[in-house]
């Protein structure tokens, strides 16, 4: 029984919100960079850039998948545990007798299988959520809990230490001086951004998050799209797991990816992708992650204890989401 006109024209205020959302994080990043150039000793060096990018790359890789999931209005809490699984599987493969006898094949499989397995678990998440119409928080909570357990069971909680330069290239290697994982990170960001802009799948993701009913009525296969984004999130987590164990030359299923889901969610939130879905900016997520990383670095470099950075991180996330909501009419 609609009496009043329902479409409120909020052109002006919404533009401010979108502008803010899009550029606030970038502006903050620029400001912070400027501050650091001015104040922090030895900031303007390749070393610093390297350190920061390396630390942030893993988070961004996971966050790309997370951005897509959030764009559909969902969330994925299992990414850290999936990282643990893939990080556990890889050494198991190339350290096995098979892997030792056929190193080339072993290494190849050590890349492919863990990522694929993580992707399959992600697909499970998507299936579980759509088949039983469960809230994504709860649905992915299952894999969060069970996933790390699976990783621990596979390795019996033991540390796997290794030295495998070929495999570890993904975490330690460089291409033209740029760390490999940074290249992967940039490639994924570019691919995801392109996909959201220019592919059918990307459009479907955004429509599902934007107005699921309208998407369904327009023929978009909503359940399939959702299953796929969770699978992709799993794949990203799988890749990130490989990177982490490569950097550490060891794989501890108890620790790999611990807390990663929250880091990823924070990056997405700060980067400006709304949790209600329908809009996504992968580049924003990258900036968000960089910003959070830079804040942490700035504090550390200037003598503030790491723990304080946690508090600041919490405040940034809350502030980012709150400011995002200010412009929204809903």
């Amino acid at each position: 029984m609609a009496d009043a006109p329902t479409i409120a024209r909020k052109g002006a205020s919404l533009d401010v919100a979108t502008f803010f959302r899009r550029y606030a994080a970038l502006a903050a990043l620029v400001v912070l960079l400027a501050f650091n150039f001015a104040v922090t000793p030895n900031f303007a060096s390749w070393q610093t850039l390297n350190v920061n990018l390396t630390q942030v790359a893993t988070i961004v890789i996971v966050s790309v998948g997370m951005t897509l999931v959030i764009a559909t209005g969902g969330i994925d809490l299992s990414v850290g545990s999936l990282m643990a699984i893939s990080g556990a599987l890889a050494p198991m493969i190339f350290l096995s007798s098979f892997g030792v006898s056929y190193p080339a094949l072993g290494n190849a499989l050590a890349f492919v299988i863990p990522v694929a397995v993580a992707g399959l678990f992600g697909l499970f998440n998507g299936w579980f959520i759509t088949r039983f119409r469960v809230q994504p928080i709860v649905g992915t909570l299952v894999m969060f809990i069970a996933g790390r357990g699976i990783g621990q069971v596979l390795t019996n909680g033991n540390l796997q230490v290794f030295k495998n330069p070929t495999f570890q290239f993904i975490g330690l290697g460089r291409v033209f001086g740029v760390p490999c994982q940074v290249i992967i990170m940039l490639a994924l960001v570019a691919a995801a951004a392109w996909a959201l802009r220019s592919t059918l799948f990307g459009r479907q993701i955004l429509s599902v998050g934007g107005n699921e009913q309208a998407a369904r009525l327009s023929g978009v296969p909503v359940a399939t799209v959702k299953r796929w984004v969770y699978a992709i999130s799993g794949l990203c987590a799988g890749i990130a797991g490989l990177v982490v164990v490569s950097i550490n030359s060891s794989s501890d299923a108890n620790l790999v990816g611990l807390g990663m889901e929250l880091d990823a969610i924070a990056a997405v939130a700060v980067g400006g992708t709304p949790f209600t879905g329908g809009q996504a900016t992968v580049v924003g997520t990258l900036i968000g992650a960089l910003l959070i990383q830079l804040v942490r670095y700035t504090l550390l470099a200037n003598g503030v204890p790491d723990a304080a950075a946690l508090v600041v991180k919490g405040a940034i996330i809350a502030g980012a989401v709150w400011s995002q909501q200010q412009g929204k009419s809903t």
């Binding site: 609609a2 009043a4 592919t199 009913q213 369904r216 978009v220 329908g278």
Partner: protein, 511 residues
């Protein structure tokens, strides 16, 4: 003359440029059941919200129980003696019946909640309405009718003198409606007045004393139920003078081609409680109108055909083949399109651009290897933006910034892109200004002339009488009339809607 219990006079209310109420009025005597009727947008719910304080009126006076009042919120109204029962049961389903009745003003003993007393009083309250249930069980275990009784009991326990019931019967079956009416009569017997808002005219005749008709934000007339028959009631609601011959007032021109083969044939449709036996048929080159009062089941029929809410029973044939689409995607593959009734709820994707909204349905066909063909997309968007004269700053503008009329055009474009054989339009010109209306209407005729089969649901009588080549009328979920254009006069349609059962044009046997 007894003093009225409620006297609302000269109420004005304006929303963002739309005058929702113009000098509207409403008077209710103590211990009477007053029906309040009107079509969509007539102002009924605005009037009620102004009374209960959900909205502030711009001007006008409200006198209740002899005193001028100005309630600031529905809670204040409740304390003041005016309670509202909403269409969606605004109670908490998981909580017990007794708890729902006393939520917010629980009884206490030694600081702890006194369940014993609350349960006893709740049971007593319901017994007054001849409802005997276990008040300790969760509300949701009971049927909607009982839940409604509980809502009424809660309202009454606040010592209400006036109870407003907003479409309380929409999800009740006949037996439950009878029980509800009993309760209403009891209330009346106890001196409580009731305002009963409903679209089901038959019901009003069973239980109401008087009726107030609203239209376009004004109060049109007030009658004793006994003094006015259904036909005149419907006419008053629609503002339709039965005998007047009207000059053409829509953008619909006469058809330029004759109907071709049957693209849609649906019969025996049964959907939930709303649709009991619906029938409809559409041919190529033809606009078929689906008329009926609010709540008669038209949208449900449309959604069933489109696969959005598959029916419980019935046969649907598209292009002569029996089909039963379970998902809209299946219907789309069968070259059916559906432009929904509520743009905001399930039509537009608000954060997307005009271009993205237009191409949403047809995108799979514009992609190669998963990548969208930008050139083809641009071409199609430009073509349709031009054809439908969509006013926007460009294809990239966010659709939520467009006017209602242009948004509707975008949605139409979305479906036209898919090159359908059958297009179902649910209230295609609702909430659109006059100019855009005529444009869209002319466009629909043009599309039909070119071969499209159109099933058009509309609450505006002129659209049906002028635009439809054939009219099916739904009443209470049944197809009660099948009229060719020549026989589809306003009077005939209204008669059918009011289900006076006129013989003329009932078309093929039983509906």
């Amino acid at each position: 003359m007894t003093d009225s219990l409620l006297a609302m006079h000269d109420i004005n209310k304006r929303f963002q440029g739309v005058q929702a109420l113009s000098a509207a009025s409403l008077e209710v005597e103590p211990a009477e059941i007053m029906a309040l009727i009107g079509q969509n947008g007539a102002g009924k719910s605005t009037m009620i919200k102004v009374l209960t304080g959900a909205y502030r009126r711009d001007s006008g006076s409200i006198v209740f129980a002899g005193r001028p009042i100005d309630f600031g919120s529905p809670q204040a109204a409740q304390r003041g003696g005016v309670s509202t029962i909403y269409q969606e049961i605004n109670l908490v389903p998981f909580r017990s019946v007794a708890e729902n009745i006393f939520l917010g003003r629980e009884y206490r003993r030694y600081g702890l909640l006194d369940w014993g007393r609350m349960n006893a009083e709740a049971a007593e309250l319901l017994r007054r309405f001849a409802v005997e249930i276990d008040v300790r069980r969760p509300l949701m275990e009971f049927s909607t009718a009982i839940q409604q009784m509980v809502a009424i009991a809660r309202a009454v326990s606040f010592k209400a003198q006036l109870v407003i019931m907003d479409e309380p019967t929409s999800s009740l079956d006949e037996r439950e409606v009878a029980v509800l009416f009993d309760v209403m009569r009891r209330l009346r017997g106890e001196g409580v007045a009731v305002i009963f808002v409903s679209h089901r005219l038959d019901e009003l005749y069973k239980v109401c004393d008087r009726v107030t008709v609203m239209r376009d934000g004004r109060t049109v007339s007030t009658h004793r139920m006994a003094d006015i028959d259904k036909l005149r009631l419907v006419s008053a609601m629609l503002g339709r003078d039965l005998e007047t011959v009207r000059a053409r007032s829509t953008g619909f021109t006469a058809p330029k081609s004759t109907p071709g083969k049957v693209v849609l044939s649906a019969e025996g449709l049964r959907i939930g409680r709303k649709v009991r036996d619906a029938r409809v048929e559409v041919r190529e080159h033809q606009i078929v109108g689906l008329a009926g009062l609010l709540g008669s089941g038209r949208t449900e029929v449309a959604r069933a055909i489109f696969g959005a809410d598959p029916p419980d029973a019935g046969k649907i044939e598209i292009d002569g083949r029996a089909v039963s689409p379970q998902e809209p995607a299946e219907a789309i593959a069968l070259r059916v399109g559906y432009c929904s009734e509520d743009r905001k709820a399930d039509g537009i994707v608000p954060d997307m651009s005009v271009r993205e909204n237009i191409t949403l349905g047809v995108l799979p066909r514009l992609t190669r290897l998963g990548v969208v063909d930008e050139a083809r997309q641009r071409e199609i968007v430009d073509r349709f933006m031009q054809r439908l004269a969509i006013k926007a700053s460009g294809p990239e503008q966010k659709i939520r910034e467009l006017s209602g009329g242009n948004q509707q055009k975008v949605l139409l474009a979305r479906w036209l892109c898919t090159d359908p054989e059958l297009l179902i339009l649910d209230e295609p010109t609702r909430g659109i200004d006059v100019g855009a209306k005529a444009e869209i209407q002319a466009l629909i005729r043009e599309l039909a002339d070119q071969g499209l089969g159109v099933l058009m649901i509309s609450s505006e009588l002129e659209e049906i009488t002028e635009g439809a080549d054939r009219v099916f009328v739904l009443s209470d979920g049944r197809t009660v009339a099948d009229l060719p254009h020549a026989e589809a006069s306003a009077k005939a349609i209204i008669s059918a809607m009011a289900h006076e059962g006129t013989a003329a044009g009932e078309g093929a046997a039983d509906g």
